[in-house]
């Protein structure tokens, strides 16, 4: 293997890893806040991809410009999902853990069916954008520009998430995460924080979805695979840890790229799953999870 191949593998792992990390960040945020694993997370990403596609078709604008609009829409969707479904799932008295799993799972199937109903099952893609099919070549390493832009946006979004953590709202989030019952005593409306947390989580995965739509196919089933990787990433990094999501996302991206290079590309996910299982043997709550 030449040094160029090695660099190429490392770079493609990095580019994909940042996207995985951002998808996982939204999931981890929601989980950390209220112990709910959103099994419709991949479907939220898929909705964002279709939203970008539709807006692009209607306006002809670049997904870059559409990014804030889609993120805002996704924020609204996240809040709505919390208010309509999750708040109710949190208030049941029996089998709470199982109710959460199956409510979000039912939501995932519903969204998939709905999108198939509206758009049909065929693959779509956004074409003819500013960066489409452009590449840079640095010392023999091939860099597809849409992916580079996507990973830069993911990094920015991560910085944004960390910045939010330092605001008043961020502190309220942190306080709610620490002790759900006590925050009510100091005048924090728990329900509102949860709703905003869902909005933020959905907007986060929405950003990842829009950037992904710049170079990836769009179909009702596209979310499932990314969601599985996101669960693995979050569990590997430790549920609720942002830094963990970033580190695990990068690790997963690199492992995937290396497995695809060494073994068959169709087996590329076996490598990441194996790493995940191996790490969990030694750290049952992930790399950065609280024990």
């Amino acid at each position: 293997m030449t040094i160029e191949t090695l660099l190429q593998v490392a770079v493609s792992g990095l580019l994909m890893g940042l996207i995985y990390a951002l998808v996982a960040a939204g999931l981890s945020l929601i989980f950390g806040l209220m112990d709910v694993v959103n099994f419709a997370h991949g479907e939220l990403m898929m909705v964002a991809m279709y939203a970008a596609f539709t807006l692009w078709q209607m306006s002809g604008l670049d997904p870059f410009i559409l990014l804030p609009i889609v993120a805002a829409l996704m924020f609204g969707l996240g809040v709505a999902i919390y208010r309509l479904l999750i708040a109710r799932a949190l208030s049941v008295r029996f089998n709470r853990g199982m109710v959460q799993i199956f409510v979000t799972f039912g939501l995932a199937i519903f969204i998939r069916g709905f999108m198939q109903f509206v758009y049909g099952g065929e693959f779509r893609s956004i074409t003819g954008t500013w960066l489409a099919n452009r590449t840079a070549n640095i010392y023999g390493v091939y860099l597809p520009l849409p992916q580079v832009a996507a990973s830069l946006v993911c990094l920015l979004a991560f910085a944004g998430l960390l910045a939010i953590g330092r605001t008043e709202f961020g502190r309220a989030l942190e306080a709610t995460r620490e002790d759900r019952e006590a925050v009510a005593l100091i005048g924090i409306d728990r329900d509102r924080i949860f709703a905003l947390g869902w909005g933020l989580g959905a907007a986060t995965v929405g950003v990842a979805g829009v950037m992904l739509a710049g170079f990836y196919y769009i179909s009702p089933n596209v979310g499932a695979n990314f969601a599985l990787i996101a669960y693995v990433t979050v569990a590997l990094g430790g549920f609720g840890s942002m830094l963990g999501a970033l580190a695990a996302g990068l690790l997963i991206g690199e492992v995937e790229a290396i497995t695809a290079q060494l073994l068959e590309p169709s087996l590329k996910q076996v490598g990441m799953f194996a790493i995940y299982l191996a790490v969990l043997m030694f750290r049952p709550r992930g790399l950065f999870g609280k024990l």
């Binding site: 989980f31 694993v37 479904l85 109710r88 799932a89 049941v92 008295r93 029996f94 089998n95 709470r96 853990g97 199982m98 109710v99 799993i101 199956f102 409510v103 799972f105 039912g106 939501l107 995932a108 199937i109 519903f110 969204i111 998939r112 069916g113 709905f114 999108m115 198939q116 109903f117 049909g120 099952g121 009702p220 499932a224 599985l228 669960y231 693995v232 569990a235 549920f239 068959e264 169709s266 087996l267 996910q269 076996v270 799953f273 194996a274 995940y276 299982l277 969990l280 043997m281 049952p284 709550r285 992930g286």
Partner: protein, 328 residues
């Protein structure tokens, strides 16, 4: 043991015997192929959900990767029949045993995880199995395995002209899983599982060997799931990773138990009786055009049951009984 509990257990046996008798004669006047297929699939999934219930319900370990054991059972019995001419009734048991061994192998590392970490790990293990099967040409790879027709007989478990025998195979499978669950409810193992489910620390301090009892649940659950997979393969006559090892199938195995009531004797059957026909009918009438309408309905159904009846449909029975007794 409290006398009322033994009386309740005896009554459950009587109800099951009556139900079994009804189900034995039920398909006789029905000759419609579609309806019979519906019955067979429903009974098969009733048994599978009961098998899942052993680990997911009684022992409280929510596995979202049970299609792995289903797939192992299907592959083992099919490959033994196709390549080794070993009759499926034998292959079925072998498939179940290999699936149980697989469940132990998976359980050994995974049972040290808890909660969401455990659930996601089961998905990942199943997904690894799926990807390996997809790329392993020796067992058919992505193109799958066709089961050749070798003559209509119980030994071959192949019936071409009349599907009725499959109905009895599926019924027998469901009945055996029910009987095992009934037996477990009164057995020491069943009590230790409930202790593990409710509070691991307390169970351990009472002298329950937590890891060992989880492994026992995994082995039993994996065995019957594998047997179900072998029956399914023989019934359909063709297997490939997408039909027997997928994540969707794993959810479909768990769902009836969840909808009906986890950790209850009748929950998985009740859930299967509602869910499976609804799903089959909606996908054949609404989903034929692939417009996604059936998926929307299916999703709404799951959300509605989970939110409206978190303790499962089986709890409705308790409501009726209370009303009949005149108590609030």
């Amino acid at each position: 043991m409290v006398p009322s509990i033994t009386r309740r257990r005896r009554r459950e046996l009587v109800i099951a015997a009556v139900l079994l008798a009804v189900l034995i004669v039920l398909p006789l006047p029905i000759h419609d192929v579609y309806t019979r297929n519906l019955f067979i699939i429903t009974l098969l999934f009733a048994g599978l959900a009961q098998a899942w219930n052993i680990l997911g319900g009684y022992c409280g370990q929510i596995s979202l990767g049970h299609s792995l054991y289903f797939g192992i059972g299907a592959y083992v019995s099919t490959l033994m029949f196709v390549n080794g001419h070993i009759p499926p009734p034998v292959g079925m048991i072998a498939g179940g045993l290999v699936a149980a061994a697989g469940a132990l192998l998976v359980g050994w590392p995974v049972f040290r995880l808890s909660g969401h970490y455990y659930a996601i790990a089961t998905v990942v293990v199943q997904e690894i199995g799926y990807l390996l099967a997809l790329n392993w040409d020796l067992i058919g790879g992505a193109s799958g395995v066709f089961i050749p027709f070798r003559g209509e007989s119980w030994l071959n478990l192949q019936f071409r002209t009349d599907k009725l025998p499959y109905f009895y195979v599926a019924l027998g499978f469901a009945a055996v899983t029910w009987a095992v669950a009934w037996w477990l409810e009164g057995a020491r193992l069943g009590f230790s599982w409930r202790a593990v489910k409710d509070d691991v620390v307390a169970a351990r301090s009472l002298g329950v060997r937590v890891f060992r009892s989880k492994m026992a649940a995994a082995a039993l659950s994996g065995f019957f799931t594998g047997v179900g997979g072998a029956i399914f393969a023989q019934y359909v006559g063709y297997i490939d990773p997408d039909s027997i090892l997928s994540g969707q199938l794993a959810i479909l195995i768990a769902l009836p138990a969840v909808l009906g009531g986890v950790g209850t004797l009748w929950g998985p059957f009740l859930g299967a009786a509602v869910l499976i026909p609804l799903r089959e009918v909606s996908s054949s009438y609404l989903g034929a055009s692939g417009n996604g309408f059936d998926l929307m309905l299916y999703g709404i159904l799951i959300m509605a049951v989970a939110l409206l009846r978190p303790q499962g449909l089986a709890s409705l029975g308790a409501v009726f009984r209370r009303n009949a007794n005149g108590a609030p």
